[in-house]
Subunit: 481 residues, 2 copies
């Protein structure tokens, strides 16, 4: 299928909510409520029993709507879904999201049969289906939100350049809520549910060409690691990074997946081999998934595996070194020439090696001069900086000045040096870290997480080089930064 | 030395600040400022050039103070430290903290010689010395704070039952600031600096008998893993848990330590063996250090390695299983009898195995009934619960009710079952997680971190059993919970 059809899931001009309800305790109420609170397209509640829902005229059937419908969102009892699907087909709707549960995930004959019917009807009319048993989509750019969570109990993130495809609806929602608090923007969120039709491969094929998506993240449980998936991954990763959190690494985890979704998760070794072969960056938890996505979304890839560490606290420099080395990165000694240059601009008690430790007595200019020298040295490919925003000699101006030095040096270099940061601390530190991040340098609460984020930039740079697309990626990347 | 002397570092009745300054840009100003803002004991600024500092009468020398001095905090230029130490000795001060830097850490002849003099004078007068080149101590219970950080740029945590000994002052401070934001209470914080006298072993020997300390955490770089340290660890861990973050795991990290502190960090394998032999729980980052400390400080140890997982989200159950198994824990199948009991109280779509997945449609009572059955089953030794506070059927009452069920079931069991939680999400989730934690159940933002916290309870329980002190620990533990 063409991604032209898929695009209507994300950019519909009109949406019908089948099963829209006036009862606030029902999914069909909350879903409509969330949808109309931001979405500016045309919305049609479908409900045969009432004439109006949440101030909108309701229609008894989707076929009675006097308008074209780009997207139908279905939230009716499982037994009614097939007939609603037929209606959608007759109405000419090409994109359907089935929120309703009660299908294959039950493992019952009725459930499996119901899901088969959905697929059959979709094929008959040439419709694409997300779900069933899913949360649908969230596209903040146009306010499209088909989830049914109460916004009093969770937040939704702003628009950003990371897309997130989740097999688990609940986990997906929790991540959205967390991302909103963390200040991470989302381009497209999709909860795939039972994947009776649209699956991870469809998403990759679409998102690879999606201008609003810079990084693709996925949470998966059971995926058929077949030709199709491998092919989609292989054509995506040379163009944009794909970071995947795959659950079911252990035998016990695989057993849990079977009783949870009914899907068969193969041996982890198969996924691992496929991911390596396709240049997928694998995450082993939610933190890692978004720590890597964030660095990839804000910073260019690194052209090698050499890390330069610039720190205000000696201990953090040591821990960052440990973390980088344990990930397979190099923390090289700097040349005598570079050490000499650093010595000239740092305090006598500073350590001008790598880690470059400006010490807790440092002032802003020591960090600014040091990062300049390190970036231009040609001896490191990525920099982890570790400011201590509570240090007596550091002032708030460091935020703006550091961002500006990194940006201006990178403009002069033929290949930019990515920079990520780690700042452990409380409220004041968090406030300044957020400001640094707004300036395009991702900041993490621990050096271990920053090291993993740096690793992703190195690993992805290596992959792009092996595919011959490093320069191409860089030129696209530099346009939007 | 007896811990009677060490105790004056934490509970002095009078403190002299040598080098107290009226200039807000000086360490001697900020230090006094922080000290007098909470501490209720008698404080004497020592400064020969002024008659008053921050509203307190200043004395030219410590010998001129007409009162006994329990603790002297020295912040004068390195070259002046020895003569000040002599004065302290003459005055009969037995506890000295040398904040001043400029000693062994410089690696210069003068630095090393200066530090040798400090030790010599301390021996002559029978004084104990923390430092030099340190931040001193923070004891919120009595408001004692000898650090010199500006409180506009960092926060200090409340009193709690975790003590933290840090070789790195900067990292220690960052952790305090973070702990304040995270809501983790601290009993004693000590920045050891160059450790010319007081070291990790002294701290262990004191803290093992300290009623206010339930868990001992340490950040170390170079420690002599000699008889003394091993002996102190061995006599502490059967009584209370010791969690250590040791930097310098990699060769590059060891090199960084050498240029940072001048101390020699031995091969990591030596530390690792010593830690294992002594029942130390090893952390590989700040998150782990305090994630484990928190569970150990709030929950009893587990009597085995079997984990029960109770979740609202299937995906999180799978990931928690993966994380637990990868740490060496077991996620056993539950017996038919227990599965039957669970089935009776859960929704038909729930999965009553392990993980017990109550599903996103669950209501409070499903979690409450399930945890009750799991705790009483005798089939699991620790429980990881994973509420989704944004789920439609979950209300805020769950917090109080869950805490209360866990507490009352544990009162009936001969050996309590510890419970830790994971809740991923945003502001609402954080608010409710904090409330659960106030009820004594530690809550983490990801399942991976909760699994590590559960692991610590299992591993420490195993250690206590091997030492024959499980029951003794439990009886002391149950008194304060």
């Amino acid at each position: 299928m063409s991604s032209g059809t898929i695009s209507k899931f994300f950019y519909p001009n009109s949406v019908a909510v089948v099963g829209a309800s006036r009862d606030p305790s029902k999914v069909g109420y909350q879903l409509l409520y969330n949808l109309i609170s931001k979405y500016k397209g045309r919305v049609y509640p479908i409900n045969p029993h009432v004439s109006e829902v949440l101030g909108l005229k309701a229609y008894p059937r989707i076929t009675s709507v006097p308008d074209d419908i780009d997207l139908a969102v279905i939230s009716v009892p499982a037994s009614t879904v097939p007939s609603v699907m037929e209606d959608c087909g007759l109405k000419g709707v090409k994109n359907v999201i089935v929120i309703s549960a009660g299908f294959k995930e039950l493992g019952t004959v009725e459930g499996i049969e119901g899901e088969r019917k959905i697929v059959e009807i979709a094929k008959k009319f040439g419709m694409r289906v997300i779900g069933p048993n899913c949360m649908g989509v969230y596209v903040p750019k146009i306010g499209l939100n088909t989830t049914f969570l109460n916004p009093d109990r969770m937040d939704f993130p702003e628009h950003g350049n990371i897309s997130f495809i989740s097999q688990s609806g609940a986990f997906g929602i929790a991540v959205l809520d967390w991302a909103a608090m963390r200040g991470i923007g989302i381009s497209k969120f999709v909860s795939l549910g039972n994947k009776c039709d649209v699956d991870e491969s469809d998403m990759l094929d679409y998102l690879v060409g999606d201008e609003d998506t810079q990084v693709i993240t996925m949470y998966i449980e059971g995926v058929e690691v077949g030709r199709r998936f491998i092919k989609s991954l292989k054509s995506t990763t040379p163009v944009k990074p794909v970071v995947i959190l795959k659950a079911g690494r252990s035998e016990e985890g695989v057993r849990a997946i079977a009783s949870h979704t009914g899907s068969l998760a193969g041996a982890d070794i198969v996924y691992d081999a496929a991911f390596k072969q396709c240049g997928v960056l694998r995450a082993y938890g939610m933190d890692e998934l978004f720590d890597m996505a964030l660095s990839l979304s804000l910073q260019p890839p690194a052209q090698g595996m050499r890390v330069g560490i610039l720190t205000v606290g000696g201990g953090s420099g040591v821990m960052a070194t440990d973390a980088a080395v344990s990930l397979g990165l190099k923390v090289p000694k700097l040349s005598d020439a570079t050490v000499g240059k650093l010595r000239n601009v740092l305090l006598p008690i500073a350590s001008p090696y790598n880690p470059v430790d400006v010490t807790g007595s440092a002032r802003n200019e020591h960090l600014l001069n040091a990062v300049d020298i390190m970036m231009r040295s040609g001896e490191v490919d990525v920099i982890i900086w570790i400011p201590y925003f509570m240090a007596p000699g550091i002032t708030d101006e460091l935020v703006e000045d550091f961002v500006s030095v990194v940006r201006s040096v990178n403009k002069e270099l033929s290949t930019p040096i990515p920079v990520v940061g780690a700042a452990t601390g409380g409220r004041h530190t968090l406030k300044l870290s957020t400001a640094v991040e707004k300036g395009g340098i991702p900041m993490y609460p621990t050096v271990e997480r920053a090291a993993k984020a740096a690793w992703a930039l190195c690993k992805y740079g290596q992959w792009l080089k092996s595919k011959g697309t490093f320069d191409d990626y860089l030129s696209r990347f530099s346009k939007f930064t």
